[in-house]
Point group: C2
Chain length 220, copies 2
DNA sequence: GACACCATACCAACTGGTTGGTATGCATTA
DNA sequence: TAATGCATACCAACCAGTTGGTATGGTGTC
């Protein structure tokens, strides 16, 4: 790289184009935050690290976000969007029986529990553990993200309760939150062993619980 | 030496005694770490904050622990000891039926889900979330603490399985880990809302699951 | 279509305050 | 008096955020 860049004639359009497209820094910073925070936690992650992972400078960071906390909030919101396809794309969402769809979703979450721990754990779950008492904006953004997940899961549970019945005291949103709790808890356990196996074990129990809940009489 | 405090005759035992007993700094530092880390997380907690909360100086800190990480490991080990009485003291541990003891334990954990979130959440669960990828000593100490809990819970589950039976694929240690996962997950959810109610909801599902697991021939 | 004008996107270098850790001294106890 | 327990004073590295500037692309005007 002899030329600092000054040489770049205006006709280098063809191949070079190493430079990332203008306007991509924000998205790259959020993706870098997801990646880094899931591995190290929020407080231990520095702005410089996020910038380095995103391949941009600090100037770009503070152009797009007024503070580290503001990035955290934006990243939590982006996490919600990132999770949305989990409810729309997968094949099991087309199943006729809502209980099959619910079980299908749990199976799907089970299948995600593979590979390095920091690649399947939850960004907002990790972050809210650290920030719930020190940053209300972050806590609320994480709460909204988890709430959106539960709300997306609840309709199938409600439908399953109507067609298959369910014990007293079980509500769609309540069971959805329990699903989320088991997932979050399984992430914590997986972090202790640095291995997904222990997480799969718990989700298997969750699946059995859901099956038992709706296994009273099919079509009573 | 002019008497800065030399007045204190050896017979001042009655009331004065403002100074903490010599040798208490270590325990106070660990207690302060438990308190502060549960509220703010590990990385966000500074050594100075821990010292302030313990009422000692940094000199005392680094006299007892060679680093912040070493304190974290010691605090995780102390957490294990702190949890031990939970299995020995409570009245339900005297029940004859092991299933009653297991349900009693879950009820007991349920009853702990009250008051400020940082007062019932798990020190090692919080810490391992942040440190699992950056500090093996901390991760292993947290793993040992959670493992000790599960091992303490497993015998009653094993006995319950023998007297009441249980479905294929359920193991004592596996179910114990699931109990722990639900608790850890319920803590995460409670942090999103800053309210224990959502955690109680999940533990109620856990209790129902355990009841259903062992309810094969009892009532039907 | 060429030019002036300007908002947006981004960069490199710097700063004030904080952090984990150290060096040293002194009082109490064995 | 030797060792232990703890305090004070201090430091080098680091961190979130700032500053002052450059590059880029869009828009209105003629």
């Amino acid at each position: 790289m002899t030329n600092s860049r000054a040489l770049s004639s205006s006709s280098d359009a063809p191949a070079a184009a190493k430079r990332p497209p203008r306007g991509s820094a924000r998205a790259k910073l959020i993706a870098a935050a997801h990646q880094t925070v899931r591995k190290q936690g929020y407080a231990a992650t520095t702005v410089d690290q996020i910038c380095a992972a995103a391949g941009v400078t600090k100037g770009a960071f503070f152009h797009h976000f007024e503070s580290k906390e503001a990035l955290a909030v934006a990243a939590a919101e982006a996490w919600t969007e990132r999770a949305r396809p989990l409810f729309e794309m997968p094949p099991y969402t087309r199943l006729a029986d809502p209980l099959d769809r619910l079980i299908g979703h749990i199976d799907f979450r089970f299948s995600m529990l593979d590979g390095p721990v920091e690649e399947f754990t939850c960004f907002v779950g990790t972050m809210v553990q650290e920030a719930f008492a020190t940053s209300d904006p972050i806590r609320l953004a994480c709460a909204a993200s988890i709430d959106a997940y539960c709300e997306a899961l609840a309709p199938d549970i409600a439908a399953a309760m109507e067609t298959h019945g369910a014990p007293e005291g079980v509500t769609p949103i309540g069971l959805a939150r329990h699903v989320q709790a088991v997932l979050q808890g399984s992430f914590v356990l997986a972090k202790t062993t640095n291995d997904p196996a222990i997480a799969r074990e718990s989700v298997t129990h969750l699946k059995r619980y859901v099956r038992m809940l709706f296994a009273r009489e099919i079509g009573s």
